[in-house]
């Protein structure tokens, strides 16, 4: 029962967090507020990238840090040139597995 209460409370609270800025900022979003939102969005995405990579690295994934760095670098290069998510995934995961296989063969 307490789990259901917790789920409902977090769901309600999360909804308020999601909905309140749409009401409060909706009146007349100032230029300063827009700048904050833009930079916060960029920072959030960058933080999510690093958090995701470190979480994957902390699971003791094959290839270790070199594989993660190659995956991120390959994906970043492709993302800079093409805006296709599939191409970015292919480059990133392809680089990752190339390092993993190479390391496995060499050891």
């Amino acid at each position: 029962m307490s789990t259901l209460l917790a789920v409902l409370a977090v769901a309600a609270g999360s909804f308020v967090l999601r909905f309140a800025p749409l009401v409060v900022a909706g009146a007349a979003p100032s230029e300063g507020l827009q700048r904050v939102a833009t930079h916060a969005g960029t920072a959030a995405l960058a933080g999510l990238v690093v958090a995701g990579l470190t979480r994957h690295g902390s699971t003791g994934s094959a290839g270790g840090l070199p594989a993660l760095l190659v995956a991120a670098a390959g994906a970043a290069v492709v993302a800079r040139r093409r805006r296709s998510l599939v191409a970015v995934l292919v480059a990133g995961l392809g680089g990752y597995w190339t390092v993993v296989v190479t390391a496995t063969v060499l050891t």
Partner: protein, 264 residues
Amino acid sequence: MGAASPRLAFASATGRRGRRPGDGAVIPVVATRSATASRPLVDPEVWRGARTMLPLLVGYLPFGLMLGATIARHPEPLAAWAGTLLIFGGSSHLAVVQSSELGAALPVVIATGLLVHARLAVYSLDMAPHWAHASLGRRLAAAATLIDPSWAVAAARYGQPGSADDKWRYHVGAVLVLAAGWLAMVTAGVLVGGSAVEDAGLGLAAPLCMLALVVPRLTDRASIAAATSAAAVALLGAGLPAGTGLLAAIAVGTVAGLVAGDRT
């Protein structure tokens, strides 16, 4: 599916079709049938949004399965599973499931879940210029479905040409795929568990997709300062509990972006 890969750049949202010779009013019945036949089954913008979300969804597969496996071990699995769409956020949901499983007091469980979701206010603020003047129904629906991938995909689309309705339909397509896929993944995790997918390296797909979304935003010194400082803080704060490292990264990155912007 096939040839068309999901892209974040959009040329047109109208789904234009060429006018065929013979279409017209000469034989009204034929003209009517032709118009009906050329209408797509799924709205082109909804379809584009759905297609763009699919690769991101693949990236969340390991996490969804892992969350499901954690729910399966919970003493109240049905209540824990109910959070899949109610909370609609894997990290916060996982925090609630884990802390309640460990016997934490109810206020602590709730506070932990909300702290992890504090970043959603930033996402909502980012989308406020686009959604704040929409109808109440749209704002409610948008708020209920705002989470990392849906925000990232919507933010990219709203920066592109197109009408507000086109962009909204695109968001709806993306969110429908996300909600259905997320529910299916977590439920599959409850039923079968899932560490094998993580072993295949697919856990990397989500951060790589986010990388694809952040790179196009790095257009000036201020945005680069925001991203690099946020990345550094996220790296240093990776071990901090309940998503506080990510919150710190957002705060520091925002300030760095503002300062760098003022200096240019």
